[in-house]
Amino acid sequence: MTTSRTPRRRLRLGAALLAALTIGIALITLLGLEPAAPLPAALNANLSTLSQLLIQLVAVIGAIALLLGVLNLTRVHAAQLRKFPHGIYSLILLITLFGVVLLRALERGGVLRVGTGDAPSVSLTVLDAAQVAVESALAGLLFFALVYSAFRLMRNRVTIWNALFIAALVIVLLGFSPLGGATFLPSVREWLLNVPVNAGTRGLLIGIAIGVVVVGVRVLIGRDRTFRE
């Protein structure tokens, strides 16, 4: 007599309810956005209204989640204020955060106003100075990291795939550079980007889309393990 060693998975009521709710909400949203022809027009219209409401609810829940994230950031950095030297950085972060909010509140209240009519608002100037400047500087810094990484790639180990990677990289870089006499390079670059790279990108994107569809269908048929574990 043999006994099965595979443990039987118990069906939990809470997990089943969660899965049923998720499937129901997903189906309502799907049918609302892509009306099914066999269904009556009135039902399709109701499903469409309901799906729009569900999407709005999710947008507001997302906004609340963002709010909770900012509150958590504030809590974590407020707790670090007493530590040295991290406390100084946390203090700078909190001052900037509350400064931006205060600035906007003063601006909305009409207390803080620079110039008239088309003059840029103070909060937009701060956004440009603090956020856009740092973001673009970080993107510029990326250049050095990318070039150094490409150099390290060939220095560590040379394989056929590394060689292909670097060949494509060099063709693209040289193809865009204004080298005198090398008129064939831009056409090689164009062909590389339009044919093999396009095909590779298409394959990767189709693969990702198939993965998304598979995961979505697993959720729809209740096979996803998110609520069961």
């Binding site: 998720t22 709010l67 100075a129 673009s136 810094l141």
Partner: protein, 218 residues
């Protein structure tokens, strides 16, 4: 303060912050960390303001604060706050199951949107584009494109054969086509990397021209 003065102060502050970020090239230092923390603080502040001004306040205006007050509208208006509150429970081990109910609506709607987006936005247009490339004057390139797309998809196939020894190996044709796919992936990533380097170089030159030359008066 005039708008011109405000703009000058903003440009100067941006240039100083850019210099602080570039100091990272000499190694991780306190100037870089200060700039990064200012950036995070400002980003969090703007996210907070955008969330409040663009989503939450308009939502409350059309639901909870609308006149005359109707009970169903009030209920719908408070519903996302109830689900949002449930999300807080996800951080506590004892009550994390309650937090799952907050995720239900997000997961359901997210799944539906992802499915529709993947099918209508990616699969159908890309398969159509692959088919349209087969033109009589472009047959060779169309064939290379088709081989590339299919071989990249096959490269990510994990179907294998279990040998009597217990070892799992891929079928030889699948492995061979997968190798071609790996070549296409290497070319794709290399070219994308090259384009990324060019974009970063463009941003770097624009940052140097727009922000750093201001500091030396050019």
């Amino acid at each position: 303060m005039t708008p011109q003065t405000l703009e000058q102060i903003g440009t100067l502050a941006g240039a100083v912050l850019t210099l602080c970020i570039f100091s990272y090239l000499l190694g991780d230092n306190f100037l870089y960390r200060i700039a990064i923390h200012i950036f995070i603080g400002a980003a969090a502040g703007f996210v907070l303001l955008a969330t409040l001004e663009s989503v939450l306040i308009p939502w409350l205006r059309v639901t909870v604060l609308s006149t005359p007050l109707e009970l169903p509208r009030l209920g719908i208006g408070l519903l996302p706050f109830f689900f949002g509150l449930l999300l807080v429970y996800k951080s506590t081990p004892r009550l994390s199951r309650l937090g799952d109910f907050g995720l239900v609506i997000v997961l359901g709607v997210g799944t539906a949107l992802a499915l529709l987006g993947a099918i209508n936005g990616t699969l159908i247009p890309l398969v159509g584009a692959a088919a349209r490339e087969f033109r009589p004057e472009n047959a060779i390139n169309g064939l290379i494109g088709l081989i590339g797309t299919i071989s990249v998809l096959i490269y990510f196939t994990y179907v294998g054969l279990r040998r009597p020894s217990g070892e799992v190996t891929q079928f030889l044709p699948v492995r061979f086509v997968g190798l071609i796919g790996q070549g296409f992936i290497a070319l794709t990533l290399g070219a994308t990397y090259g384009l990324l380097i060019l974009s970063a170089l463009t941003v770097l030159s624009s940052v140097v021209a727009d922000r750093l030359f201001i500091l030396i008066g050019r």
